[in-house]
Amino acid sequence: MRPTFSIICFTVLSGLGYGAWFLVGLGFAIGPVCGPRSAPDAFGVTLALCQTPFVSSAGLLLAFVLVGAGLLCSLGHLGQPRRAWRALSQWRSSWLSREGVAALLTFVPALALLAQRVVERFGAEPASPDAIAPRLLGIALCAGAALTVFCTANIYASLKPIAAWHQRHVVPAYLVLGVYGGALLLAAGAVPPGRWLPASDARTLLLVAIALAMGGAWLKSRYWRAIDALPARGVGHATGLDALGSARSVEQPHTEQNYLTHEMGFVLARKHARKLRAIALLAAFAIPAVLALLGFTMPGAQPVAVRLALASGVLGLFVERWLFFAEARHAVAAYYAR
């Protein structure tokens, strides 16, 4: 399949955004984690230091920008983007429609939480740690983000004619890589400590990033091994002529390219694929994991480490997504095979 910039941008950027929203929503859902009580004041009152993990207003806002940019990118792939609103109607049968509905529904808790943070920041009363509304909104945001990425992944995984996508690794990989990107994003935003997130949150996010980097690398390696083992669909099978003998193409149906050969005739050489896979593993997982470990063990290095980790991670995810398209072969290509 020919990789298109608009779709790669959409899945990577919106994956990052929804991943960050997943973590922020999780933080709100868990609610404030209260630390040790302060020393009693003159009136004998002690205060608990309560913080909600992963909750970063700036992270919430940045994820907004990424999700919005991603969705706008996806419109760039359409032939008739003005009618894109129609894509919300067939959620009963179409994963693309379900993704559109989920994507828009997720904006509701995200906007509500952003409004809540604004009110809290500029409001007169401090927020109560026992408030139920942020928790419910957090659960909604978490679920919405996960559902949206799940639907996006299923758009590809449900396509049977593309054997490389109709694999059981595809949906888990999209989900894991989404949260992983989100963790890198929030970690980068957490630094300098105390600016966007408290120091303890930054450390937790770095650990989460390391764990997900390992998980992501493992999933992608298993996926690549699975697609390498896929049997090639030949001319004889596509035409049913293999029952008669061994078939080969002697004349193409047209001398020029057409939509099918242009979109689905893309072939990536094995040796290029191997190199790009190595680059993806390195840039997306290995380098960020090492940098995260560095940032975890040496707080002084954190600011540089987390920003480099995010940059490398995003670059690596772009390469991984490009490969996801380039290495996928469509069944119709078998008819044209020489």
């Binding site: 032939g79 008739q80 009618r83 758009i155 035409t239 002529l241 008669l244 003998g245 004349e251 008819y335």
Partner: protein
């Protein structure tokens, strides 16, 4: 509406005879000509006389050589394979459509695109293993074989002209049109008689169109591996008139 209709009683489709097709492309030309002017046209033709022509047409005729082992050695069978929409019973191209533009008619099973709703996301083209759908780059919508739905019910045409343009144009009668849901129709009988098959059934889309495989050749090769054992012709000499009986004896010495 991209939920599929309940199974249709009428299953209109094509039967394509791979034995008789000579790869002349008359069907492709007739299809393009009709659809350029019909209800679903015009079809795009970018840069037609230039260096990189790019257009949409629905019937793509491939040419293959099938190598077979015979008692006299290896030989190649030329097979021409016209590829177009098979109007499947449970097509994914209909269910993946997010806008309801891709639909299957409940009355006759024809799969169509409503170009007023199509957003050109191309997911239906990704879902079709037979490459039935192409995008009109100017309009930004998808196009496909319509089974000449604007011909087959067209009262302004003569009765026997109410068939798809490709069927009427074929000079070797390699294309047949009819109701494959009716076991007594001419096309259904043809399929039963010639062991017609649908390519790539493993996707579960249940194509309605059928391809008739090349007939077995005189040396027995060309018989499909799953067909019955070779049938030998026997001559009942007792039924022959006198002269031919003498000839049979003379030639058998």
């Amino acid at each position: 509406m991209t939920s599929l209709p309940p199974p249709t009683a009428r299953k209109l489709g094509l039967v394509i005879d791979l034995d008789t097709c000579v790869g002349c492309h008359a069907c492709a030309v007739a299809c393009k000509e009709w659809n350029d002017g019909g209800q679903f046209g015009p079809l795009p033709d970018a840069d037609p006389q230039g260096a990189k022509p790019d257009g949409v047409w629905f019937n793509r005729v491939h040419s293959y050589a099938v190598e077979q082992a015979t008692p006299q050695g290896a030989r190649e069978l030329a097979v021409h394979f016209p590829r177009s929409c098979l109007h499947c019973e449970t097509p994914a191209c209909v269910t993946v459509c997010p806008t309801g533009a891709s639909y299957k008619r409940a009355e006759d099973g024809i799969v169509l695109v409503d170009e007023d709703k199509c957003i050109g996301c191309q997911l239906c083209a990704w879902a079709c293993p037979y490459g039935a759908r192409e995008i009109d780059a100017r309009k930004g919508t998808m196009q496909k074989c319509t089974l000449c739905v604007d011909r087959i019910y067209n009262e302004t045409l003569e009765e026997d002209d109410r068939q798809p343009a490709c069927v009427k144009a074929c000079p070797t009668r390699a294309r047949h049109f009819g109701d494959l849901g009716d076991a007594d129709s001419a096309v259904s009988k043809l399929v039963a008689e010639r062991d017609g098959y649908a390519p790539m059934p493993e996707f579960g889309y249940r194509p309605v169109n059928r391809y008739l495989p090349p007939r077995p050749r005189r040396d027995g090769c060309g018989e499909r591996a799953d067909a019955s054992a070779m049938r030998e012709e026997t001559l009942d000499t007792a039924k022959l008139p006198g002269v031919l009986r003498w000839l049979d004896r003379a030639l058998s010495r």
